[in-house]
């Protein structure tokens, strides 16, 4: 009987949405596999697996990354944020609220990735121009909405976050 090759397992620890996590990974695991399959954080979606659609976007130490391209071991010691962390306070994040209000969602498959790209943008530029918004989400494909309602939602969230500061 032919044996499957033994896998190299190792433990890594990192923070996900504020929780300290220790998890066993194998060499071929990607960050998205760890999030979706090991931690059951299935909010992060896989649309292409090769860095071309942005559905898998999460924040790694504050920067948006395609989690399908990040080898899991690289997450060691990092701070990861996923869509599930956005409403950790029990209240929708202003971005989430704005997406809901502007119908910036149709099938919703691109939504988690869009939200994370938008979050990174608003942290860096709390009052982005339309141009900056368009650029910030240009790596996130959406086949349903035509992007307008998404951009309007991000603009609105930025305005709301400013007034509540």
């Amino acid at each position: 009987m032919k044996k499957a090759e033994p896998k190299h397992k190792r433990l890594i620890s990192f923070t996900v949405n504020g929780d300290d996590i220790e998890v066993e990974i194998s060499a071929s695991d990607r960050l998205i596999d760890v999030l979706r399959n090991k931690l059951r954080l299935t909010g992060t979606k896989e649309g292409c697996g090769i860095g071309e659609c942005g559905a898998c976007t999460v924040l790694m130490d504050g920067a948006p990354v395609n989690s399908c391209l990040v080898p899991a071991f690289q997450a060691e010691g990092s701070v990861i944020e996923t869509v599930e962390g956005l409403d950790a306070s029990g209240k929708l994040h202003p971005l989430q609220e704005a997406f809901v209000e502007h119908t910036a969602i149709q099938c919703g498959y691109c939504t988690p990735g869009m939200l994370m790209s938008a979050l990174a943008l608003l942290r860096e530029h709390p009052e982005p121009t339309r141009e900056e918004i368009t650029r910030a989400i240009s790596g996130n494909l959406c086949r349903c909405t035509g992007y307008h309602q998404i951009i309007a939602a991000i603009e609105d969230a930025s305005a709301k976050m400013k007034t509540t500061e």
């Binding site: 979706r36 896989e46 071309e52 989430q96 149709q106 919703g108 498959y109 035509g146 307008h148």
Partner: protein, 760 residues
Amino acid sequence: MTKTEWVGADVIRIDAKDKVRGVLKYMSDLSFPNMIYGAVLRSKHPHALIKKINTKRAKELDGVVTVLTHEDVPGLNGFGIAIPDQPVLCSDKVRYMGDAIALVGAESKEIAERALELIEVEYQPLPVVCDPEQAMLSSSPKVHETGNLHNHVKIERGNVEAAFKEAQVVVENTYFTPRQMHAFLEPESGVAAIDEDKNITIWCGGQHPYRDQLQVARALGMNPRKIRIVNTPTGGAFGGKDEITVQIHLALLVLHTGRPAKIVLSREESVIAGMKRHPMRIHMKTAAAADGTILANEARVVSDTGAYASLGGPVIGFAIEHSCGAYRVENVKLEGFCVYTNNGVAGAFRGFGANQVTFAVETQLDMIAEKLGMDKLEIRKRNALRSGDIAALGHQMEASVGLLRTLEAAENSRLWQLKEEFKAKPSAPHKKRGIGIACSFQGCGLGKGLPDYGAASVELLPNGQFAIGVSCPEIGQGNTTAFAQMAADYIRCSVDDIVVLSGDTGHTLDSGTSTASRSIYTGGNALKHAVQNLHNAISPIAAEILCVPEDDISFGHGKIVSKSCPDKILSFKDIAEYITARGLSIKSEGHFIWPVSETELEGYVGIPHLLYSYITQIALVEVNTLTGETEVIEAVSVPDPGKAINPQGVEGQSEGGVVMGMGYALTEDTIIKEGMTLTRNFSTYILPTSLDMPCKIETIIAEELEPSGPFGAKGIGEAVCVPISPAITNAIHDAVKVWIKQIPATPERVYTALKSREVS
């Protein structure tokens, strides 16, 4: 009609909150203990005989649970919406690169994929059939034994030859359209489970759970009742999940192993194996009188359905039905061919054959207007179908016709009114601007000769809320929210008191497909009947509680009132508590059968339609004369959906449709050479990103209410992506005076056309 509280309002999508929180479970998010992972062995050749399949080495790999071939398909080894000509697992022949030959179930995805490499298949390659015109010749190798011509449609009315003679202008051209990909962000995927009694549940994105159920049952040789299909939620479909994707493979895995199973196609596998829009070659000859009246239209349309039929037959019929545009044309000679090749597979795709022919006919119309020195909008107004007119197939426009209304609204739009100003300011001297306009109509429903029906249920829940069930899946289009709005207005309760069940053969009655711009009209009408029955069931109980006669009961604003004694009031919760205490329940059903056109076209199914949505779209483009690049700067989209149940939702459809139609016009094409797919991912198949979309898309909803529709609604999911493509190519002509006859109008094509114009 009484004033509506929810219909016509921008009610927030009922699934929005779960979607933004990332907690909504799509099918590939589901997992079960002891679950195996499936992988599919696809063909290595676009056309070949299979001589031998040896799975021995794969079966021996540690961690492999099962390896299945055609011998393990207990029922019919075939599927296909129209005819089941696509094998579940091929036995003797492969016809495209996506053909499935074997199925592995393993402890992990990685093991399943490794096992695929250990399966040995001996092929005898056959000549590849890649040109649909040549495929029709008797000398061509056959993709199917029955011959390569799958369907042929021919419609003639009047006398085109005579009209061509008397006409002031005749234009004649050949057009080519691309193999557009649906490119839903969620690839084909699902999970399945089986219980001790061999009842199977399949959670898989799809567009018609009951037809999936039938196709799975047929392949398994099982009673459909033992199979439950759940299609909601689906992460985008656009027609590309109308056909079977992974449902039967999932069912085979659970049947043979007794364990739950999951299959998720990779993007590349999805591109190679999945459905596409039919590429078409359209030869069109159109004649008009001096005043712009279209006198005749002749079209010959050849459609490449690839290796299997799926809905290729109905698509060519639909294309022919729409090949004269939404215009009055008395003399027509229309012929369509749907042909098998080894070029992937084509099937349903938003627009369903209208996109291709609309590109052709709307370009023809602009050429005629140009020759006659007529305004582009004027010529469309002159020929626009009006209610009662006879359309191209000789059928009467019996239902609401909103084309003129959309044209008038388009004419009054800011972009059209100020078009000369917009055109006068290109962003650089080597860039030229142009404006284009195009119209279309879109048959709603499955059309004459195909059973088209819907059913819905309404149940009063113990807490006084209502559960409504419609099986047309939520694929992103927002139908579940619209159903909730319509139900709330029919019941006369708050939309917040409606719970929607969707896309599940276990919990919803068969309402047909989420395709053909039909789910709002069908579901709404079925709900209307269901609520009438619900009210009829509640009335006697309310009468009993209030001690009034039954005909004294009326329903209004979340309450049940005695007409004669208005202070006698009950809430739905009162009724719910009353019946629950007595061990009773109230659940009613409504059924609805689509009305059809009176015109019978002998020998054809699916045409003509009775009901159409209408649309006019305008594009402002800027063409870079040095590179041939085209940018869409602004667009106006004027749909007639009948009543817009949720205007914000219609706007979302409209904007998404504009951008999808823009991709079709400018960048999108799945290139297949000698049966091999070359554009296998999103770096070579170019989808519009946020940087490409028009800076502004103005949607003006022009409602032409349809008396037979729920609250006057028709459907709008498809039409929104259709005329924008020729509006863009017509705008390119307006800008740089070259006619685009082949889309996508890539920079190379536009540049070449510009160069040859300079030469000539």
